[in-house]
């Protein structure tokens, strides 16, 4: 079985603050086909993203497969609120990069 990177299948992969204590991640697909492919592959789950980001699964507050937008979305609790001294990403806008290379099995 061959595989493709998530960045080849998704239209949008992004991260952004969701309030001051959380960062939310959106993976959006252009069409149902790629969305269902990734959703059904199981490569994205609470457990897999916790492992990818090297965090405890309890820090993932939401994990949603959102059919109307062909989107997979999850949210991570920050260790300290956005904009605290030492926070290098006050918008939470550059936290998504590790998702780009996630390998998705394709038939």
């Amino acid at each position: 079985m061959s595989s493709k990177k998530l960045s080849e299948l998704a239209k949008t992969v992004r991260s952004k603050n969701a309030g001051v204590d959380r960062i939310t991640f959106d993976i959006l697909f252009r069409d149902r086909g790629n969305y269902e492919l990734v959703k059904n592959s199981g490569v994205l789950s609470r457990a897999s993203v916790a492992a990818l980001f090297n965090i405890d699964a309890s820090r993932i507050t939401d994990f949603v497969e959102y059919d109307p937008a062909y989107a997979i979305k999850f949210t991570i609790l920050r260790l300290r609120p956005s904009g605290s001294a030492g926070d290098a990403d006050i918008f939470g806008a550059q936290q998504y990069a590790p998702l780009l290379d996630v390998e998705v099995p394709v038939a």
Binding site: V20, T24, N54, I55, T61, P68, A85, A88, D89
Partner: protein, 469 residues
């Protein structure tokens, strides 16, 4: 002109965070030409960090704020339709509301606009109010996993704003306001308020606000600061991109429901929750998406969200670079050496009352422990150093020691013995004080207006340069 049959109202939104970057004039003018019933924009965000609220400043330059207010006011007065702005000047603090009110007066005077009624409201909450609530047993409840507010955290807070629901907007419209400058508010309510007041269902009115609040971020291809129009009827909401190159598609509109929020289904405002679980999206025409099915669940008891910011200390910044591969491999030892020199002067951070932060660009500055590649640093590193302390003098010394001492780090086998790091500047720089978000909480109120102080005033027909200036 609107060609739609039946009673509808149309809402023009040119900017999702007024002032953060200027609205794009061409698509705004296209929107104005369709003669909308309202012109509205949100001007606030907590994305900008706790500094502006704590220090009572804006991140937006005055020129950009005025640019947008001027375009919107002139169009609204020309059409004779209400203009509503929420969360004035990034934070929605009282001084930001006053500043926007003054800008509105100046713009009206400069253009000799006919008199109109201006409504505005304040959102700041005195600490004494919360202290009374807390000591009488009313908890100030934490959001997003935070505990209840403690008196200690309240004491550490410099400024608090309450996040308004539709209530102050509806009340000011009832009082005849034609232009409204709002203090801190939920983005969606700026749009929902006039729709609810006009008799449209709350279900659709709040959804209208949710879908419009970020302007063209609900359209594709991606382009910020372009205008969009939302149209509400008794049955649906339709949203249309005004920029000729943009379209509101099922994917872009549905996708926007999840933007900046933990969960795509629920949006909480003072007075209830918008439930988007059963939203149905359909492409209405090439640039318009039609939405049905949102639900608004009214809360039994109104809880108002509070945002608070407290000062941590004065802050300095230093920077150093590293090119030697041996040093790069041992960069944590280099930082450890510098930290130790600060510790010898001021004690441990907790005891000494200071913070010292290192961000190693080229390794893991941006993601820290979440970065899966942090064990593969680049061939050169940039190290940003931040020192925070009660006084500027101490923050400077902490930061200077923490930066310069990397130069003297004692690595056993380093070849370069003339200095361990490269300095682009042999100095440290004072930056804005460090603040932190102390409140992300809610408080129960008996009257949804009790935290907001409402005002109306006539903006008179004064000649430019006259008494109003």
């Amino acid at each position: 002109m609107s060609n739609n049959a039946g009673p509808t109202l149309r809402f023009l939104c040119p900017n999702g965070h007024l002032g953060f970057a200027p609205l794009k004039v061409a698509s705004f003018e296209l929107g104005v030409a369709t003669r909308p019933d309202f012109i509205l924009a949100d001007s606030g965000s907590d994305d900008i960090g706790p500094g502006p609220l704590g220090s009572d400043t804006s991140t937006a330059p005055k020129e950009w704020q005025r640019h947008d207010l001027e375009h919107m006011l002139l169009a609204a007065r020309e059409l004779g339709v209400p203009m509503l702005i929420g969360s004035a000047g990034d934070t929605g603090s009282n001084s930001r509301v006053d500043m926007y009110v003054q800008m509105i007066r100046e713009i009206a005077a400069d253009h000799q606009l006919a008199p109109f009624k201006l409504g505005y409201f304040y959102s700041e909450v005195p600490k004494s109010y919360l202290r009374r609530k807390m000591t009488s047993g009313d908890a100030v409840t934490g959001l997003d996993g935070r505990g209840d507010l403690t008196l200690e955290e309240l004491d550490a807070t410099d400024r608090i704003v309450a996040v308004a629901g539709v209530h102050p907007y509806i009340e000011l419209l009832n009082r005849g306001a034609e232009v409204i400058i709002g203090g801190r508010s939920s983005d969606a309510v700026i749009f929902a308020a006039p729709a609810i007041r006009a008799g449209y269902p709350e279900d659709l009115s709040y959804y209208l606000g949710k879908v419009l609040e970020c302007a063209s971020f609900n359209a594709e291809p991606y382009a910020g600061k372009e205008s969009v129009i939302g149209e509400i009827s008794a049955e649906d909401v339709k949203v249309t991109a005004m920029h000729p190159g943009q379209r509101c598609t099922v994917a872009s509109v549905a996708g926007h429901a999840m933007y900046e929020r933990s969960n795509p289904y629920f949006e909480f405002v003072a007075g209830g929750m918008l439930d988007m679980t059963n939203c149905h999206y359909e492409q209405f025409d090439e640039r318009t998406t039609r939405v049905t099915g949102p639900r608004f669940e009214k809360a039994e008891k109104v809880r108002v969200k509070l945002e608070g910011s407290g000062k941590v200390g004065e802050r300095y910044m230093g920077f150093a670079g590293v090119r030697d591969p041996y040093t790069i491999e041992r960069i944590d030892e280099v930082i450890g050496w510098a930290q130790q020199q600060v510790r010898e002067r001021f004690g441990d951070p907790e005891d000494g009352g200071y913070e010292l932060h290192y961000q190693v660009y080229g390794r893991d500055a941006i993601m820290g422990e979440m970065d899966p590649l942090r064990d593969q640093p680049g061939h050169e590193l940039g190290i940003m150093v931040f020192g925070v302390a009660p006084t500027a003098a101490m923050a400077e010394e902490v930061t200077l020691t923490g930066t310069r001492q990397m130069f003297y780090a004692r690595l056993p086998d380093v070849k370069g013995t003339a200095g361990g790091v490269a300095f682009p500047l042999d100095e440290v720089t004072r930056v804005t004080p460090a603040y932190r978000w102390t409140l992300n909480h809610t408080v129960a109120v008996d009257d949804p207006l009790e935290l907001f102080e409402l005002h109306t005033t006539d903006v008179a027909d004064v000649v430019a340069g006259g008494a109003e200036r």
